[in-house]
């Protein structure tokens, strides 16, 4: 059962990498990073159980926190970046979508 879950999460990770590479818009990439982070948390928790060393869960907590912080940071900075030259960036975003 654990193995099946690991495989499913692995496939989901690969899919999200694909979305991150293909992208189209900025926000798709951020979304892919976010999902990838959550999947990594789960993967590590599962790996800890499979290897029989559940101490790994500390790392899972760190991942969850860092994922949150980095997504917030990305949004914060991409936000202000675009406010500064709103016109050009908006146009490109619209074209891409």
């Amino acid at each position: 059962m654990l193995i099946a879950a690991i495989i499913a999460i692995f496939v989901a990770m690969i899919l999200s990498i694909f979305r991150g590479v293909v992208g189209t818009t900025l926000y798709d990439r951020i979304l892919a990073v976010n999902m990838f982070g959550t999947k990594t948390v789960l993967l590590i928790a599962l790996l800890g159980f499979v290897m029989g060393r559940p101490e790994f869960l500390d790392i899972a907590i760190v991942y969850a926190l860092i994922n949150f912080i980095s997504v917030i940071g990305v949004l914060r900075y991409s936000d202000t970046n675009q406010f500064k030259h709103t016109a050009t960036d908006n146009e490109t975003v619209k074209k891409e979508s």
Binding site: M1, L2, A4, A5, I7, A8, I9, V11, A12, M13, I14, L15, S16, F18, R19, T24, T25, Y27, D28, I30, L31, A32, N34, M35, T38, K39, V41, L42, A45, L46, F49, P54, L57, D58, A60, I61, A64, L65, N67, F68, V71, I72, L75, S78, D79, Q82, F83, T86, D89, N90, V93, K94, S97
Partner: protein
């Protein structure tokens, strides 16, 4: 007792992995950003929760259980928040959902100028 634990944890794990998997498919196949975000935001939180509950049932140590509860609370708190912030930022910066009419785009312009 043993078999109950195995079956229930297996059920949760399989449900969780199915949700994660479908979230991944949705992320890849849906047409525009907002639908993708819907797919990911919903399935991610519930799928992660399911898998963590499944692991909780399997865990024997109290410390491990407590840590799993912590991870679960964190994902429950963080997942929706990031989805919310992401959607808000995307909308503020003028990324329109697919198939919206020009009328609504005008509305959006009014909205974004009133909130500089």
């Amino acid at each position: 007792m043993d078999i109950v634990i195995t079956i229930s944890s297996g059920f949760f794990l399989l449900m969780g992995s199915f949700l994660c998997f479908s979230g991944g498919i949705g992320l890849l196949r849906f047409p525009d950003f907002y639908t993708r975000m819907h797919a990911v935001g919903v399935t991610d939180t519930l799928g992660a929760g399911m898998i963590l509950v499944g692991l909780m049932i399997l865990s024997t140590d109290f410390l491990v259980f407590a840590k799993l509860v912590m991870v679960l609370l964190l994902t429950l708190l963080i997942g929706p928040t990031t989805s919310h912030v992401l959607a808000k930022a995307a909308f503020h910066n003028g990324l329109m959902p697919r198939g919206l009419s020009t009328l609504e785009q005008d509305n959006n312009k009014v909205y974004s100028t009133s909130n500089p």
